[in-house]
């Protein structure tokens, strides 16, 4: 019995090595050299933190035989990273993590790129947006704050955010439309910097992602007013003064009818085969099962929706249309478009 098994194994190994490419293509695909994990954003931001956490998990739990190398390609609001992937057709050793700049960068800059150039792999999570003010300020809820914005001379209230013509500014414009107010939007390089500018009172409010501002909330420096989602976040651990993410009301319930969630998803290079996509889907399923990933989701109060295949592609398509409308309304489209 033992001998048969051994023979079979040897036989298979010989067949595989003799068969070369033909056999390998039919067998389940696996990376044969280091996988480049591209981040179309700078170091220290939300996408960067997520990608590096994934790299850490993959390495720690040996989920991949080949190493995973994380590379930041942040030039041109992430355009550098997307174009790099677009030009790597038939190279299954390249994947990219996306944020909303998957839609906003091509629309705002007119670079020759569309998400359909890439192969969708999986949606890992959705990132929430929260309206934050400085804890020293008297605004206890959305109404207080919007009233204050209305009372101030137009344009003197400053909203800080990450990047220009990207998600933070889209939400700001949506807020202006919904409330008939006017903010002065000031773009910064990264979310952490934005949070600190709010702590230092250099801006009046921000729409930071939870993970970018949680440390300052815990330190009692910032106050969350509402979350831009259809339902409250599900995490009930206490963060500050007995309050947790679950206690933050939705903006809609506070009279600010805006919903915005940001994609944290994975794409791979063009012309990837089904086997190759399946390999990465499987890899990320394993990543999602680890305690480190669950902790990370909790710290950042992520919406843990996981989508693959056609469902994922459909979701992305709907979002693309939505961004096009939003950006057209805000007059953020590149002139050449």
């Amino acid at each position: 019995m033992k001998r048969t098994v051994l023979h079979y194994t040897i036989g298979a190994a010989v067949a595989a090595s003799l068969g070369g490419f033909a056999t390998m293509a039919s067998a389940a695909w696996e990376p044969t050299r280091p996988v480049e994990f591209i981040i179309p954003a700078g170091t220290g931001g939300g996408a960067d933190q997520m990608a590096r956490t994934i790299q850490g998990i993959v390495t720690k739990h040996s989920l991949m035989k080949q190493p995973m190398v994380v590379i930041n390609k942040s030039g041109g609001a992430g355009g550098e990273g997307f174009l790099d992937l677009k030009s790597s057709a038939n190279n299954p050793h390249k994947i990219i993590i996306t944020l909303s700049n998957l839609f906003t960068t091509p629309l705002a800059t007119g670079i020759p790129f569309n998400w359909k150039d890439l192969t969708p792999v999986a949606m890992l999570a959705l990132d929430e947006f929260v309206l934050w003010v400085n804890a020293e300020k008297p605004y206890k809820n959305v109404k207080d704050y919007i009233d204050a914005v209305k009372a101030a001379p137009a344009g003197t209230i400053k909203m800080g955010g990450t990047g220009s013509k990207q998600e933070d500014q889209i939400i700001t414009v949506a807020m202006e439309k919904a409330t008939g107010t006017k903010f002065t939007y000031i773009p910064y390089k990264g979310g952490g910097e934005v949070a600190v500018q709010l702590v230092g009172n250099h801006v009046d409010s921000t729409v930071n992602n939870p993970i970018e501002a949680v440390a300052q909330w815990r330190g009692g420096k910032l106050r969350p007013l509402c979350v831009f989602d259809s339902k409250r976040m599900s995490y009930d651990e206490q963060v500050f003064e007995g309050k947790g993410w679950k206690d933050i009301p939705t903006c809609k319930s506070e009279g600010l009818d805006i919903e915005y969630l940001m994609l944290r998803g994975i794409f791979m290079s063009p012309k990837a085969t089904k086997d190759q996509v399946d390999y990465y889907v499987d890899l990320f399923k394993k990543v999602r099962e680890t305690p480190e990933w669950k902790d990370f989701m909790k710290t950042g109060a992520f919406n843990t929706t996981f989508l693959v295949g056609a469902e994922y592609a459909k979701w992305v398509e709907t979002e693309e249309k939505r961004h096009e409308t939003l950006m057209k309304e805000a007059d953020f489209l590149a002139k050449s478009n």
């Binding site: 480049e36 700078g42 170091t43 220290g44 960067d48 933190q49 590096r52 956490t53 790299q55 850490g56 390495t59 720690k60 190493p67 995973m68 190398v69 994380v70 390609k73 942040s74 030039g75 041109g76 609001a77 355009g79 550098e80 174009l83 790099d84 705002a108 800059t109 670079i111 020759p112 400053k158 990047g163 220009s164 013509k165 990207q166 002065t184 939007y185 000031i186 773009p187 910064y188 390089k189 952490g192 910097e193 949070a195 600190v196 500018q197 702590v199 230092g200 250099h202 949680v214 440390a215 300052q216 815990r218 330190g219 009692g220 420096k221 902790d295 990370f296 710290t299 590149a334 002139k335």
Partner: protein, 501 residues
Amino acid sequence: MEEILNLFQGFAIALQPFNIMVMILGIVLGVVIGVLPGLGGANGVAILLPLTFSMPPTSAIIMLSCIYWGALFGGAITSILFNIPGEPWSVATTFDGYPMAQQGKAGEALTAAFTSSFVGAFFAVVMITLVAPLVATLALRFGPAEKFAVYFLAFCSFVGLSKEPPFKTIAAMMIGFALAAVGLDSVTGSLRLTFGFTELLNGFDFLIAVIGLFGIGEILLTMEEGLAFRGGKAKINLSVVLQTWKELPRYWVTSLRSCVIGCWMGITPAGATPASFMSYGIAKRVSPKGANFGKGEIEGVIAPETAAHAAGTAALLPMLSLGVPGSPTAAVLLGGLLIWGLQPGPLLFVEQKEFVWGLIASMYLGNLVGLIVVLTCVPVFAAILRIPFSIIAPLILVLCAIGAYSVHNSTFDVAMMLVFGVIGYGLKKTGYPLAPLVLAIVLGDKAEEAFRQSLLGSQGSLGIFFSNGLVSTIMILGLIALFWSVIQEGYTRLRTRAATA
């Protein structure tokens, strides 16, 4: 008092045999990373980050921060030996370090650079130990206007330094600004000056420009001068270290001033690069040997190195206490902290005492270990200059190409580097100074961003740059630095008039 107690507990943690081993390993890796231009501390730390996941968090952060110190030390080596700055903050070190190496004083220059690095870092660590909480609140006061004022000061303290005609200095600086403007305009979010070339999305990376302008340009010049690689007569024994050490205490004023500049620039999020330029600029103004700067003056190595390291070390403080990294490397370290479940921010010092003080203790020890490691290698480094140019030049070229490639993993950058090499050669031949150009590339877009953010906030009023005590003070210091020579001249005239009257 509690801080001191905590620190000693930190030392007990850092001095465990495993942690000491990790420390030495980190330093050696760091030096190697620092020597390879382009690879840089941030990339090095990022590549090695996964290695540390199997370690306890304190050991892991000790190793990573030691890589950081090692890279800081290593950056000086190629600047001095080959005129190729491995890191942005080593650019100012080349101004006097490379001429020293050419005069056969590579050993002295390296010793001065390493020792100054240590002094700067040590000063900053002491400051972190004593005034950490206080300093964090100061950093919070820095909005866009204050940041712009700091960049303004850095530019002003550097303007008028070169011996070249002011027109050429300004022309070089303007070219730098123009290059810095290429790519995404971060305030409007649209592209500018890319002319439809997607390769230019990212603008001109500083490192590629510097590797080309300095490294390749220098090789071209040396080739023209007949393949002679000067500096071959460098002393290569350890006694050079002791001799240099005897000299160094003379420059304590420069050191102290550079430490203060460095710490200040590190805490305010300006960073190590403006710190090194500013410190060099001020040292040149103030030093009695100021006229000799740029021709191989040891003080011109001490000033930028001390400031760069004080800043690099102090930059870790805003990262720990605010969660805002002061440098790209600190940003990668920040990512590491999050993976280990440590949340940087105001509460880190309260909740994770063992970790924070272990890290601070390892800063003391790591720097000391680093100094010993690199000093014992000085003769080896200096001996590199004895290798014939025909052998070393191709090696440098390869090193430069790898460096340029590894910045963004792009072959376009390698071509760009060669173009910059030719430009560098042309500028040198026609007597245009490279330093203002480089300064403008490094700080140009940051200064522009801060300037425009300020004006957005003030709705276009320039008054914001004089709207509070902090920003006005920095702006006025900048203006004084800009018109220093005029002020000095006026003062001397007044005195002579008073004397004759």
